[in-house]
């Protein structure tokens, strides 16, 4: 009885000391940069980035295996914050484009040379020689091949105006 208690106590104490020493000498340091990124990230571990939670994403960003733009909930704001922290340059244009564009004729500049209508792949430009040209909004695909043909810079690309018929309710920000 006493022998059993004594041996188990000794065993426990010895193993405890070994664990204590191991904790002191074999300690694994976490990457402090990863910790800092984790604080900045949404922390919902949604997995939209394709990594197991925000921790995985933060590690991947620090290792350089994932771009700073990989977090959709964080959006542009987070991407630029991470880039600033890590000294990276990010291409924010990939995160959300600024919408489709179409060509528009500035009527006071158009001289009716017909050069633009010849290159339009969808015949979206109407006009005859020495007549002011115009662009069919519905037919223009925004290829901008007409822009460089214009000798008076009367053609410019403008964003397609948003109308009530085209408006889409923005996606709610994820929890």
């Amino acid at each position: 009885m006493i022998a059993a208690i004594l041996s188990l106590t000794l065993l426990g104490a010895a193993l405890g000391i070994v664990l204590g020493i191991a904790n002191k000498f074999l300690k694994v340091e976490g990457n402090p940069v990863v910790e800092e990124l984790l604080v900045m990230m949404p922390g919902s571990n949604c997995g939209q980035c394709g990594f197991p939670g925000c921790n995985g994403a933060a590690e991947a960003i620090v290792n350089g295996t994932a771009p700073a733009t990989c977090c959709p909930p964080g959006g542009k704001a987070l991407a630029s914050a991470i880039a600033a922290k890590l000294g990276l340059t990010v291409d924010l244009s990939a995160m959300a484009d600024d919408g489709p564009k179409i060509a528009v004729v500035a009527e006071e500049l158009c001289i009716g040379c017909c050069r633009c209508s010849k290159v339009c792949p969808t015949d979206a430009i109407i006009g005859a020689a020495k007549q002011v040209h115009n662009v069919f909004r519905e037919a223009c695909t925004g290829c901008s091949s007409c822009i460089e043909k214009c000798p008076t810079e009367a053609l410019v690309m403008r964003p397609v105006p948003v109308t009530l018929q085209h408006w889409v309710m923005p996606r709610p920000v994820a929890a």
């Binding site: 919902s44 949604c46 939209q48 339009c120 792949p121 969808t122 015949d123 979206a124 519905e138 037919a139 695909t141 948003v162 109308t163 009530l164 085209h166 408006w167 889409v168 309710m169 923005p170 996606r171 709610p172 920000v173 994820a174 929890a175």
Partner: protein, 508 residues
Amino acid sequence: MGFMNLLKHLLSDDWGVHPDDHKRPAADAPVRVMPVPQRLYLPLQQHLGGPARPVVLVGQQVSKGELIAEAQGMVSAPIHAPTSGTIVAVSEITAPHPSGLTLSAIILEADGRDAWGELPACVDPFSLSPAEIGQRVAAAGVVGMGGAAFPSSVKLVGASRAKVTTLVINGGECEPYLSCDDRLMRDQAAAIIDGIRIMQHATGANVALVGIEDNKPEAIAAMQRAAGRGDVVIRPVPARYPMGSEKQLIQVLTGTEVPADGRPADIGVIVHNVGTALAVRAAVREGKPLISRLVTVNGQCAAYPGNIEVRIGTLAEEVIAFAGGLKGDGLGLARRIMGGPMMGMQIPHWRVPVVKGSSGILALDASEVAAQEPNPCIRCGRCVKACPMGLLPLEMSARIRNQAYDEAIDLGLKDCIACGCCAYVCPSTIPLVQYFVHAKGELAAQDRTKLRNDATKKLALQRQERLAREAREKAEAAARRKAEREAAAAKVAAEAAAVNAQTQGESA
């Protein structure tokens, strides 16, 4: 007793929600009639379908009820002058829409005489054929007054073709805060019943069922008195949101379910609102176009909540001023809404006109607005229970968050009626219905893009064909000219040869 109730509760399909209705005291206050304002702003699109096309010129004098914009396309509605006056402009005005974008609108300056033009009255509407009634309703610009604003004549004419047997009249008014239909039923029950009979005649329905939520006992009593023991049956239904939704009301009243991708007409039912019944009566009996409507002004910030009869095109700002303004000059105002709090439109400011489908103007304070940060979904399943269409809002929203729209469609996104019950019950305050509205808009945009791409492809092909044809024609023309030239040259040569031969012959 208690056990049976519990059992019934467990067994019955417990869809929908029971929000605090906030209908009184606004519903009990008598209707006030607002005088015609100085200027009216009449958007060209107040209905579903194609926008109307103006048929007046700036500076033109119009009489009350005169056509100022005609319907354009199969599904559309005309617009009439709500008062007599001068057209001052056709310009842009903020639409009653959460985007805050503008709509083209005719601006009418009232002359104060408010004089009707000539009206095509009709003594006995029951002698008219369904098609004639449809024409009169279409000409009067009547649209669904419940909020969706679908042109009523399209529904009526479609119903007479589709062999409709049951006319369901929606007096549910399940949206909290609103009481304009309640007020109409209390004050003008006889006229509504007359309108229902006219619609019954137009559709050929054997029976008309009027569904009224049981939180409006006065309206039920008034309608029962007016209906008598005829073929118009008043049926109280349990107060529950969204009882006033077409598919839900049909199921409760007739026990039949509208198929997922079908219309009520497929099961022989057609649904109209009580306000629409009144507008149809005015259009058919008196030839009066739809130029005014009852609007509920309500919300904690409204100083004197109540129902007000306003001309279409009046700015919400002026309606509120007439109703008695806002408490404390609108200091506690947290949200402006046009329509009901569940499905209405949040508007950016009060300079938005009342349109044919506007049922309410709500000034809500912070205590009435749910503006909490969303938390992660805890999968409690309350949204599933609340969904009147039997969908899985939590699963659908998770798909939409990851932009997996096709998976959301597989889960039934297209059946979603955007009633907002799911977002209302969510304990994590996740904006579920907003996800669905977003996804539907996104899918519609994708469809538009696809159509556009197809059109582009066609245009590009046509251009290539045109270029090829032009090249061919050019080549042909060149070949023809060459042939002509050669023929001419040959002829000249032949002549020359002939002359040569002659001269040689002569000389020989």
